[in-house]
């Protein structure tokens, strides 16, 4: 039985569809309505709030906190600045990816790590000989993802206008305020949507206070609660891969070919090899020299081909509104050269998009391939072109958000 998160009393009241998913042992709303469309559009044009509490969260503290993280992650943290967040992955000793998540430096000796799968044992096992404490705060720290173009406007009302100065991947300690009450927490300018957005961290006991404050502040901005279905469309547009869907963790992989290296996943930019020994370094060095055998890429499926395949049966083109997570093969001529793992129709771009893994020789942007399309139980192929990720990358994601002058009058 999944457990409720601290926000459950509010989210369950609003979740008229009664559609939930199990996420890390917790109830997570898939969509509040029969369709997730309203939530998707609110995310891209207004703002949405999503309960992200099920994420695994760890507090890493002590004089050797930075040393521990530098030892297990593919990048170093000795010189990381307090008030900064890093997106990062970590590998086993063979250089195969275990998980990806974020590391936030809150102080000289104080970090927070988020991950998709439990990481406590892994962190503790690697902490031998170091003066560092790792605590699992997964269940005591609540998290809300406030995302979308108006997220900054909404947040300013509960933490003040200084939020506009928070840079992309910045973190600050804040006081959430509503009706004279004030509660401490942390805000990071991060998210999984590829849009302007923030993640709000707060002790679980104050979770409902934060939820109510946000909903109140968001009322005139069209803020909606969002579930995982809309997120799944947005994250494909943003080119974010999902562990367990787009790649398999080395921890759960049954055979070698199911595992991936950071270079294969397109994480080249985060791997820092010119530093003291860390887990997987030797393997990663030789992988870098060899070059990865596979590449994680974006694909655009030719809509006209897709429509023609359906038209031949007298059918209109049809796709489920949710992101499809069933893998399908990709071909170059007769040869299979990869597979697509997440496929979605982007309502904004009007494009049929996929995230895919391809043999390196076929992974250049612009390369044309064929993707399997099944229609009326018959297998067909449509053309698909390799595209640069992300598919959708609005300027506001990284820009300093412009704040409207304070509004007056009745709302």
């Amino acid at each position: 039985m999944p457990r409720p998160t601290p926000f459950h009393p509010r989210t369950s009241e609003l979740c008229t569809s009664l559609l939930y998913k199990e996420w890390a042992g917790c109830y997570a709303v898939r969509r509040y309505d029969v369709y997730h469309e309203r939530e998707y559009y609110a995310l891209r044009h207004q703002a949405t709030v999503m309960d992200a509490t099920p994420l695994y969260k760890y507090e890493v503290q002590g004089p050797d906190a930075a040393a521990l993280l530098s030892r297990v992650m593919v990048r170093g943290f000795m010189k990381a600045k307090p008030g900064r967040v890093a997106y990062v992955c970590w590998c086993d000793q063979h250089g195969k990816v275990l998980d990806d998540g974020t590391v936030t430096r809150l102080g000289e000796e104080h970090f927070r790590v988020t991950s998709a799968d439990p990481a406590l044992a892994w962190l503790q096992r690697n902490a031998r000989g170091l003066t560092v404490q790792v605590n699992d705060i997964s269940r005591t720290l609540g998290a809300l993802a406030l995302q979308g173009p108006r997220s900054c406007e909404i947040l300013r009302q509960i933490i003040g206008p200084s939020v506009a100065d928070l840079a992309f991947f910045g973190a600050i300690a804040v006081n959430y305020q509503l009706d004279g009450k004030s509660v401490e927490g942390v805000v990071t300018r991060t998210g999984y949507t590829g849009d302007l957005g923030y993640e709000l961290w707060i002790e679980a006991e104050h979770a409902l206070f934060l939820w109510d404050a946000l909903m109140e502040a968001g009322r005139i901005h069209g803020l909606l609660p969002m579930g995982l279905d809309a997120l799944d469309v947005a994250r494909v547009e943003a080119g974010f891969l999902l562990g367990g869907v787009d790649y398999t963790s080395a921890r759960t992989a049954f055979i070698e070919r199911q595992k991936s290296t950071p270079f294969e996943l397109g994480f080249d930019w985060m791997v820092k090899l010119k530093r003291p020994d860390f887990v997987g370094k030797a393997a990663l060095c030789s992988e870098k020299e060899r070059g990865p055998a596979r590449r994680f890429v974006g694909l655009e499926i030719h809509w006209d081909d897709f429509a023609d395949i359906h038209e031949a049966f007298g059918l209109p083109p049809h796709l489920t509104p949710e992101t499809c997570r069933e893998g399908v093969p990709l071909y170059a001529g007769q040869r299979q050269v990869g597979y697509a793992t997440s496929r979605t129709f982007s309502p904004l771009l009007k494009k049929y998009l996929a995230l895919a893994t391809l043999q390196s020789g076929h992974a250049e942007p612009g390369t044309e391939l064929q993707i399997e399309v099944t229609c009326e139980y018959e297998r067909k192929v449509a053309r698909a072109t390799v595209r640069e990720l992300p598919f959708y990358n609005p300027e506001r994601k990284k820009a300093k958000p412009p704040l409207a002058p304070a509004r007056e009058g009745p709302v």
């Binding site: 029969v34 469309e37 559009y41 049809h318 509104p321 771009l349 494009k351 709302v411």
Partner: protein, 529 residues
């Protein structure tokens, strides 16, 4: 020194701009000229009253072609769509019908009027979607030319012909009925409830001077279902910031590809030498030379306004003389102090986040038409209302709202003569408010500002001949290879190097951008890029 371009485009409506964008994207040097101070033509957003922004004319984006959104990267250039959530029909007796995205709730709603209709609805939807699928290729390519023997054209005709005759008999019958019957007769074969049929039937008359019982109006029902097919991919919606955002995104894309766009540049005539278009002359006297001239204005304004009968073959002029405009609708834009509350469904809700129809029965609609037939506006007109500020707060100050009412019938040719519209305009506006008051009793108290547009105003300000919203009626005899004149449906005109890219060309009116894009494709040699 006169400047020279590959193409000069007359009119910065969304079609003219789309044509400019496609030409620029192909590397052509283009200039678009708009008479008004803002771009967009009938797809325009304007701040009519301080703080209140309106989609002054067109208000819902229906059939904007997805391939154009992709090709011109419109989302990158600022187009944001918000889907309509429901269709709401309030009734004077306190009842109402709400058709939304949830099929089960819609079924329950309809069954309050007829259980039989509730069950028939999905069947009807499927049948119409099939029809829509048959018609869709037609709006995404140039019109077939029945007189041509070129292999490509023959193939296209054959394909459509096959589409037509290979269909199972019941489908064939449906197609024939759809093309000949009146909207009401057609719907009568499926449904019994007036309350359901009335709001469906009106889509057959929008932009025409016909009634819901006039033959030939059934076919326009299809347009709705074509939207539904894309609907799985949600193309019916509000553009954030108003429909002008569609035009602005197309303009931004055009500029990105290198097009030059000027506003407050009114074209007086098209320069013609030796039967060939060579450029344009502005009202200011400025002359602009170009290898091709494209008109984004309606056919009458283009040919009788900018070109002149003396430069056109008689046969073509005769064809154009019988091309019908006959504007039949107006618009009332209101600024509201607060959200309106319907007697039948008080307060806020899904019913305010879509379109609202005042069409409480077939007879109501037919009565409205009766008055128009004899040169009056309808005392109790059909209204199509939207309150986009409910989903797009950028349109109005906090807590306040913009309400847009599309009104039919308001004949261009009122019995006193169209030029007398300015004297009758406000009385017409009053009739609309009186109609609203039957459903929203306190509407008069919450109106802060009001703008009334008669067909005469639409012609004068937006340049749409006789105020016809689609650059000429969308009736079967004015569509496809017959639009605007038989034999001249492929954007070419009798004047060499002069092209027509507006709603007056195939596939017609509405915010589709297809005429503009397809015209550019024809100019560039017919290839899809």
């Amino acid at each position: 020194m006169a400047r020279s371009f590959d193409a000069v485009i007359v009119g910065g409506g969304h079609n003219g701009l789309a044509c400019a964008a496609y030409l620029a994207r192909a590397g052509k040097k283009v200039l678009a000229l708009e008479r008004r101070h803002v771009l967009g033509g009938a797809a325009v957003s304007e701040e009519l009253f301080p703080g209140f922004t309106y989609s002054v004319c067109s208000y819902v984006v229906s059939l904007l072609r997805p391939w154009i959104i992709r090709d011109l990267e419109l989302s990158r250039f600022g187009l944001e769509m918000i889907p309509l959530e429901a269709s709401f029909l309030p009734l004077p007796d306190g009842g109402s019908l709400l058709r939304g995205a949830d099929p089960d709730e819609t079924r329950l709603e309809i069954s309050r009027f007829s259980r039989r209709d509730a069950e028939t609805m999905p069947e009807f939807g499927r049948a119409m979607s099939k029809m829509g699928l048959f018609a869709k290729p037609i709006i995404d390519s140039q019109a077939p030319d029945p007189k041509s023997f070129r292999p490509g054209d023959l193939m296209q005709l054959l394909r459509l012909g096959r589409h037509f005759t290979n269909a199972p008999p019941d489908e064939l019958e449906l197609r024939l009925k759809l093309m000949t019957m009146s909207a009401v007769d057609f719907l009568d074969e499926w449904f019994e409830s007036d309350v359901l049929k009335a709001p469906m039937a009106v889509s057959g008359i929008i932009g025409t001077f016909l009634g819901v019982r006039s033959p030939g109006t059934a076919y326009v029902l299809l347009h709705h279902y074509m939207g539904e097919i894309d609907g799985a991919f949600r193309s019916w919606g509000f553009a954030r910031g108003g429909t002008g955002s569609v035009s602005n995104a197309i303009a931004a894309s055009a500029r990105h590809f290198g097009a030059e766009i000027r506003t407050q540049a009114s074209v007086e005539k098209i320069l013609i030498r030796g039967g060939e278009a060579r450029g344009v002359v502005l009202e200011s006297g400025e002359e602009i030379r170009a290898k091709a001239v494209v008109s984004g204005c309606d056919p009458r304004r283009t040919f009788f306004g900018f070109v002149g009968r003396e430069n056109l073959p008689d046969e073509f002029c005769a064809g154009l003389d019988s091309y019908r405009f006959r504007g039949s609708s107006g618009k009332v834009n209101l600024a509201l102090d607060r959200l309106p509350s319907f007697t039948c469904r008080p307060g806020n809700g899904t019913h305010l986040r879509g379109d609202i129809a005042i069409a409480p029965g077939i007879d109501y609609l037919e009565h409205a038409y009766d008055q128009a037939k004899y040169g009056d506006y309808s005392e109790r007109p059909y209204l199509n209302i939207v309150i986009p500020s409910v989903v797009d707060p950028t349109l109005a100050p906090p807590g306040k709202h913009v309400m847009s009412c599309f009104v039919q019938y308001a004949p261009y040719d009122i019995k006193e003569g169209p030029e007398r519209w300015p004297e009758r305009r406000e009385a017409f506006g009053d009739a609309v408010v009186d109609t609203l008051a039957e459903y929203i009793p306190d509407i008069r108290e919450i109106i802060l500002h009001r703008q009334v547009l008669s067909p005469w105003d639409i012609e004068k300000e937006y340049g749409l001949t006789e105020g016809n919203i689609f650059h000429g009626e969308l009736s079967l005899e004015q569509l496809a290879f017959l639009r605007p004149v038989a034999g001249w449906s492929r954007y070419k005109t009798p004047v060499k190097n002069l092209w027509l890219a507006s709603s007056g060309a195939h596939p017609g009116g509405g915010i589709m951008a297809a005429p503009g894009a397809l015209c550019a494709r024809a100019m560039l040699g017919g290839r899809r890029s």
